[in-house]
Symmetry: C2
Subunit: 271 residues, 2 copies
């Protein structure tokens, strides 16, 4: 999916919601556990209930990998089930030397058919660029995350008071246009999102951390939006575990619908 | 496997060789491609031919992941086939927020049964520590890699002229002892390995980049060794693709044997 198509979907659905499919076998409703593929069955019903309110799905790859080959099968079935007009994100945080990143790119963009993958920047240019050689595929590079450990290295300043995350944004924008490169920007400090928007005016930001992790959707939207929206705001647990019984899918749909309604207002106000 | 057991294996085999199982379906000998599981068949014969000369195997996870669920099956069979007294490294370069890293740890340490996993440090403490909570399991943290992109971020100095890779080593050594934490240290600049040894006297270093990537084994050994050896030096392509026909395993065995003989000399000279 290219940027124009993504922006068109956002406008059409009046939503920049990404639903995080962090599907945990221990958290899905009991009545699903006896099905052949409980993870897929859960995801399928979540997708049925939420797809009209969101523009992206983001399976967290660790949750599938932890289940071994069966988990990868559930992931592939989930990916195949997602409607084709919805953007897909492999939240995999990969990144390795050139020939290895090339294989990860092949795994997620060809063997599977994700639109995008999250990538860790530590190994630099040749760990990132192999993901950029695919038509209409995207790198979503970790810039400033919202977890406690984000302070350990991402905020270290060089001699000119430029933080590592700022250098990551500055350098990587030389490797790819905003047609192929997004950034992961945590939601916990909205004022920093405004600053990051000034560093990367045209790039989309994937913003985790609204909801369970404590970010404020209005502040994020106000500070982070550009004239194409430029945001994909993720909610995982707040949607997929909104209910815990046989009614779980309806509860997830309602949670997604509520977020979409809120987002509609911010699109009118801030885009 | 704990550190004492690893050191005992190094002394017994007079080797600190790690064989990288970067097994590429397009590079394995033609006569294997018709077998049920060509990747496993190749690895099995490589292991048979090299296990007496090495103390560790390091499957590069991307090569298996690129093949989908079939690749994960080949990986599991390979792991099950490796003799139990040989240290196993999942070269996966994972790292994510706490609850996600916990699942990656579960995937590689429990679902599979690797001794160790390579981890990227960008997200900081809570992305690393979940891997440290397993008995006799290891984190091998990226510190200073040997790829071209290593210069992009790893060498950035803070206001006190401390490079990012130095901060990574310094901080992470507060998170775990040398019983659970190794560092990835590239082989291309041996003098830097000496410096890193001064920063982390007791930690093992996993050193890729000898051979195909151009590092010098004697210089690395001289600068990097401590009194427990403290090194695992990896060779992938130089061993597993030493031959390309039906004789490939014998060629791999000879390449491993040659490296072991060289290492034996350096252990006598520098340990």
């Amino acid at each position: 999916m290219n940027k124009a198509e993504l922006v068109a979907q956002i406008k059409k659905k009046e939503s920049y919601l990404c639903v995080g499919l962090d599907t945990d076998i221990n958290k899905i409703p009991a009545h699903l556990r006896d099905s052949d593929d409980p993870i897929f069955e859960f995801n399928k019903q979540i997708i049925d209930a939420t797809h009209q309110y969101c523009v992206a799905y983001k399976p967290n790859i660790a949750f599938y990998e932890a289940l071994g080959t069966k988990g990868w099968e559930s992931l592939q079935r989930t990916l195949d089930y997602i409607p084709k007009d919805i953007f897909t994100i492999a939240d995999a945080k990969r990144g390795d030397i050139g020939n290895t990143s090339k294989l990860y790119a092949k795994a997620f963009f060809e063997t599977m058919n994700f639109d995008s993958i999250t990538v860790a920047p530590y190994m630099g240019v040749d760990s990132v660029t192999p993901f950029l050689e695919f038509h209409d595929k995207w790198v979503i590079l970790l810039a400033h995350t919202s977890n406690p450990g984000s302070h350990d290295f991402q905020l270290i300043e060089n001699g000119e008071e430029k933080a590592l995350y700022e250098t990551v944004i500055e350098k990587s924008r030389q490797w790819a246009t905003a047609e192929h490169l997004m950034f992961v920007v945590g939601a916990t400090q909205a004022e920093r999102i405004g600053h990051i928007r000034s560093l990367a005016p045209d790039n989309f930001f994937l913003v985790p951390g609204v909801g369970a992790q404590g970010g404020d959707l209005e502040a994020v939207s106000k500070e982070g939006m550009n004239n194409e929206c430029g945001l994909l705001v993720n909610s995982s647990r707040g949607i997929i575990y909104a209910g815990s019984d046989e009614d779980f899918a309806r509860a997830a749909g309602m949670a997604a619908s509520n977020l979409q309604a809120e987002m509609k207002g911010y699109l009118e106000k801030y885009m």
